[in-house]
Point group: C2
Chain length 432, copies 2
């Protein structure tokens, strides 16, 4: 359809990332041509508003508000989708695939929900849908899972994949500020949205984990399969007590496959301070992949931003241009013989940190530890943190050995029903 030495690109969306892609295609054209082995030419850009002022102005004839203009253009080989959000991006991607276009997307929301269906449609159509930019911004993780670690069985994928919450947790850990203050700061710096729900409730991280887990385990895992819990209930106290125990707190996205099935969960975790993941600070992201041959491999870098995301998008564009992926779309949809459904959270086993306020009088600890004993939960340590002798209250932290989530939930219910338990503060899972 097009000259073999030119690859036509259609861009869906011209926000921060879209402008970045347009800018780099224009300003680094020569270098990209040398690398890709073909000239990459921006042919059409879908926008909502033709008259809006842009950071990187483009000739007016490139812009259109009609998707059909882009789909019908035979000189366009690859569509780059940077609209964000599940709708209408999902539908646009499927229409592009039906029109025989390759697609490069940065859209985690779409890939987390519709990825398996989109990749199946792409395989049928013989086109490629690549999505490196959907997780980890400029940090390569999808490509390494598809290619560099291809000989490995993936055992686990664990990471910090949301920069906003990692910024907040870093401030809370290093500077003792509380959640509300750190969030406000993140909003002022533009790291957090005015409505921060998607970030602070772990929803964004759950999207990304669904994408990673699908690929790692070759199973159709979608966002609704991923348990998620946010960081809004963490207090400065938990960081303090955690540090005393040798831990810091991170919002971790964790997927693991073993003989008992697949786990996929996002929640705050106490992790040992001396691990590499614990040192990932500020808005940076890191993903650790655990494999059978290569051991653990960590990828660390910028998790967002126009230029890092553009780097990932253009890597995919170059990959398609070089025809590097011979079997389009098959990755992440190939059925496996193993387990492909995700375990309910109730079946997960880990360790637990529980902070609570109790009445300070003889026999109270015995009542509390009996709750754990009755549920076969073994306690690793009980630490009395503060005593208010006047109010006859004490704060204690209990750390358990490995236990089932369902047992811990039962324990929390039973504890709350005890008269001597005044308040259950925080429950944080511990991974060490």
């Amino acid at each position: 359809v097009t000259d073999s030495k030119t690859i036509g690109i259609g861009l869906l969306g011209l926000g921060g990332v879209g402008s970045g892609v347009a800018r780099v295609l224009t300003e680094k054209g020569e270098q990209l041509t040398a690398t890709a082995g073909a000239k990459l030419v921006l042919r059409r850009v879908l926008v909502r508003d033709l008259t809006k002022e842009r950071d990187f102005p483009l000739p007016a004839n490139l812009l259109t508000t009609d998707l059909d203009d882009v789909l019908a253009d035979p000189s366009i080989d690859i569509l780059v989708e940077v609209l964000g959000g599940q709708t209408p991006a999902n539908e646009y991607i499927l229409r592009a695939v039906s029109a025989g276009k390759h697609v490069v997307t940065a859209n985690k929301d779409v890939m987390a929900r519709y990825g398996p269906a989109i990749l199946e449609a792409a395989a049928e159509q013989g086109v490629q849908v690549l999505y490196e930019a959907s997780v980890g911004g400029g940090t390569p993780i999808i490509g390494p899972l598809q290619r560099d670690l291809a000989a490995n069985e993936i055992i686990a994928v664990n990471g910090i994949v949301n920069g906003t919450t990692n910024y907040i947790l870093t401030r809370m850990a290093h500077d003792g500020v509380d959640f509300a203050e750190a969030l406000k700061e993140a909003q002022d710096l533009g790291y957090a949205e005015p409505d921060p729900t998607n970030d602070v409730e772990g929803i964004d991280a759950a999207y990304k984990l669904a994408v990673l887990a699908s690929l790692a385990f070759q199973a159709p895992i979608v966002d609704t399969d991923v348990y998620h819990e946010g960081i809004t209930s963490l207090t400065a106290r938990d960081f303090l007590y955690g540090r005393e125990l040798g831990y810091t707190i991170k919002l971790m996205a964790m997927a693991r496959r073993d003989d008992h099935g697949i786990e996929a969960r996002v929640h705050p975790v106490l992790i040992p301070v001396d691990t590499m993941i614990a040192k990932v600070d500020g808005v940076l992201n890191a993903v650790e992949v655990e494999t059978d041959l290569a051991g653990k491999v960590l990828f660390h870098g910028q998790g967002a931003g126009a230029m890092p995301t553009t780097s990932a998008i253009l890597a995919d564009v170059i990959t398609i241009t070089k025809g590097q992926m011979e079997r389009p779309g098959t990755t992440a949809v190939a059925p496996t013989t193993g387990e492909t459904s995700v375990k309910p959270m109730a079946d997960v086993e880990t360790k637990y940190y529980i902070r609570m306020n109790i009445a300070e009088r003889p026999g109270v600890l015995a009542q509390i530890t009996r709750v754990f004993g009755d549920l076969q939960i073994s306690i690793a340590s009980v630490i009395q943190k503060e005593i208010d002798f006047k109010a006859l209250r004490a704060e204690i932290v209990i750390v358990t050995n490995r236990a089932r989530e369902s047992s811990i939930q039962n324990a929390l219910q039973d504890l709350a029903a005890l008269e001597v338990v005044l308040e259950i503060g925080t429950m944080i899972r511990v991974e060490d």
Copy 2:
């Protein structure tokens, strides 16, 4: 030549890594077939001794001592070279390329010296030579540079690429042991060879840096272009003083390109303790790539070992099998318009830590600091560490601001000539 659904593999060498490759090809055959889209079959193995007992025994008819048996076998598509050492591996690889075989090699010694010539020969022959396993063991770094970061200009590649020295330095830093003791331990654990020269003098790291820098800067940089300096003169004292200043000591391999040319050097470096690279401990490796679009990206994992290296080798085998690399061999030989020769070490600029013993009497510091001043070297701090009043000696540490290596070398000569300088202990470059 071969059935389109089968790829024949010839193996050159059956030591630890060769046995690992043979084992995984055999035991994970089904998974590899599904991933690669073709059956990977081990056809012939070149060994020195047909009768030697092997960890992973192979049918006798697979083994041969004659390279021509392997090269002449039309059913062999890919040669995996794991002989190690520059000779005869270099010649074998070139003969394989001439015979029209693709080559996957783990051989840093060969790629560091003959990589540009081999890749040029491969491009002419239309075959591929891939070498992910030559740097960083199972940690992907070559693939990400070739593919995932392809849209970026690479500004710098800095890393810890020798596990043996990193183990020794980690022991010295954390446990205060001296070099000789840590080396002995590394030898006992099998991390260091009986003759540790290649590791402890930075030669192995220089090989790997030549490979990385060639690829990153698309310039034919070979091992002899890389300045290298080992870790044998570091003392427990330097770690102690370094820590007081907020640094740890690592053997860093560093390549950088700027408007003034390319730097490529391997030597001990004081780096801030709170950086990710500073936390890379034991035999692990890490490489940080600094780019124009994606910012800094860090790759961290196992730097050696039979199974991690096998992971990297088989990733390359799968890449060739899937026909993912359309322009064979061009990477790392394509000439660039920019500077491709490496700066002499004398022209490098960085900061310096100098530890020395001086006479303890009035006016001595003035004499010493005048040496620096005369050479236009600005001093960031002078710290008196220990005074031996009886012997009238003191130990001082001077940290400079950025200065040229040649000026520092002149300063060290001038200092040594001063009567009041009793001994120059250590000079360590500082990167922060």
